[in-house]
């Protein structure tokens, strides 16, 4: 959706209208696919026939265990996709086909669900997921700068996927990050380099800033007051 990828026929037509390019939407953080036609050589994507899809046995077991939790198999869509993503690193077409074959739904159904939710990666993604909350409370305390610092520190390393994220529900430790689903904060801009270095070294990043260590604010306040 970026202004540059208007290679399509429609765009060319428009350009010839008086020779000026039509301005395009400047925003659109994640809208791949708008401009993609289907591949007419492919077969229609019906419910995959189990005879044609190989599912790794351990993954199949996990899928089946998840499906068994619910009264209705469709309910398992989110956890099954999450399991497939854990296994494949991202919700690849193959991962979705495997999940669809066990769940007996169409891969389209699962794709539709997966693209709705922010945590499913529909493109190959790094091993480490770093979510930076840039919503209101965090950004009031410098999250945007932190995000920029992290981006700079990662410097395009495909192994570490830094994404800005909507409110992660930890405004008390703003600005904060979620590293592989573990919360840390509050961070300084200067912590960015260290965080990335820790991740590259496969260490727990910023252990002293882990949310789990943090006491309740109310209790802490009372202790403070008692200390006074």
């Amino acid at each position: 959706m970026s202004p540059s990828n208007g290679g399509g026929a429609g765009f060319e037509y428009n350009q010839e209208l008086g020779g000026r390019a039509i301005p395009r939407s400047r925003d659109g953080s994640r809208s791949p696919g708008w401009d993609d036609p289907v591949d007419l050589d492919k077969d229609p994507a019906a419910v995959p026939d189990p005879a044609l899809i190989d599912v790794p046995p351990e993954l199949r077991r996990e899928f089946e265990e998840i499906i068994g939790r619910y009264p209705e198999r469709h309910s398992a869509a989110l956890p099954v996709l999450a399991a497939a993503q854990r296994h494949h690193g991202w919700c690849s077409p193959q991962a979705i086909l495997q999940a669809a074959s066990v769940m007996r739904v169409t891969p389209g159904y699962l794709t539709s669900v997966a693209t709705f939710y922010d945590m499913f990666e529909l493109a190959p993604s790094g091993r480490h997921q770093v979510y930076v909350c840039t919503n209101i409370s965090c950004s009031l305390r410098g999250a945007d700068e932190l995000y920029a610092a992290l981006e700079a520190a990662v410097d395009g390393d495909p192994d570490i996927n830094v994404r800005h994220f909507e409110c992660l529900g930890a405004c008390d430790i703003a600005p904060m990050v979620s590293v592989d689903q573990v919360y840390y904060g509050p961070l300084q801009t200067s912590d960015a380099e260290r965080l990335v270095a820790d991740l590259r070294a496969e260490r727990e990043p910023l252990p002293e800033l882990a949310l789990a260590l943090r006491p309740n604010a109310d209790a802490a306040l009372e202790e403070d007051e008692a200390a006074k």
């Binding site: 945590m119 209101i136 992660l168 405004c171 703003a174 109310d218």
Partner: protein, 420 residues
Amino acid sequence: MSSLLLMRDIDEPGLADIAVYERRGGYKSLRKALAMTSDAVLAELDASGLRGRGGAGFPAGRKASFLPKGDMDKYLVCNADESEPGTFKDRELMQKSPHMLIEGIVIAAHAAGVNHAFIYIRGEYEEQAKILDLAIAQARANGYIGERILGSGVSLSLVLHRGAGAYICGEETGLLDSLEGKRGNPRLKPPFPAIEGLYGGPTLINNVETLATMPHIIEMGGAKYAKLGVSGSSGTKVVSVSGHVTRPGNYEIDLGIPSREIIYDLAGGPPAGRQVKLWFPGGSSAPVLTAEDLDVPYDFDSLAKAGSMLGSGAIIVVDDSTPVLDVALKLAKFYRHESCGKCTPCREGTNWTVRMLERIDGGEATPMDLDIMASVQDHIIGNCLCVLGDAMAMPIGSMIVKFRDEFEAHLQSRQLAGAI
């Protein structure tokens, strides 16, 4: 100054473990509740005057009583998809005291005659989900969940369901669709979930804090609980304070204390030398209040009278160092990103608002655009399928009204900058 219920033992080491929880008096209320009839439990909840802590503030007892009686599959869903910017109370409760929530769920299930319960927790809360998973396993092992709980006639299955990152799943019908494995699109109401909810069955949906309060209500009795707080807003409330305050965090308060007390005395007020410019009393979806409103009592009715709402009880404080336009743009972008896209006014209205705010920020707007923007907010409010559209339109609309001068000044300065 405040009675601690939910936060009483919150930092007790190992509270997430069932042994510690039981030692601190956990699951006593459940035993008490199971000894009562479900109508009696319902009556206690009703008497407590407990209003839902998720945002809408609907009386919890009444809600539970809406479920039809009879022998059918009924469901209870605990809404733990805490995604409202500024809110983080449920996270702390689940992380530190998961058994309190489980106990509340079993009590509520008993009251409403439900035997299938789900906790829908947002996908980002992985640490909390793991803790809850463990806690559920422990509770099951100790007979608090399962067939014929503690020898009573009550049976309950409890499944933890993790979301995957969508604000709209905090909306109760969006949550149901998501739990059914679909895209989290809100449903048309009526039918309300109490009549036709999860898998088409009657469904009770409650927030984590609401459910976690229930053991305390049973323990102390509904009438006694009702004496806490003020009339119309009984009980205690965990308030998440964040933004420009020195001590952000969760504070349990008696409803009805002055808001200033929360922001200044508990959370420490804005950093030295700064003034409160505006504050959201109930999460980012609440219309903003200004420094003039700091003395409004923090309860459902007083905040409504002041033109805002208590919502999920999340106070976000913005001091005078931040331009109101930045706040508005941040919010509008958030709601645009989180709009599910199902209904027209929300999908297109959030998008249009962002585009207009960007234009204002870029100095390409005129004061007339502010009027258009205000009118667009008016057109969104009340016309959407669910409340997400309103959740953007209300705060932004209130900002345009209350900070119009600042918007215009901003416009002018940007236009001047552009001219140079």
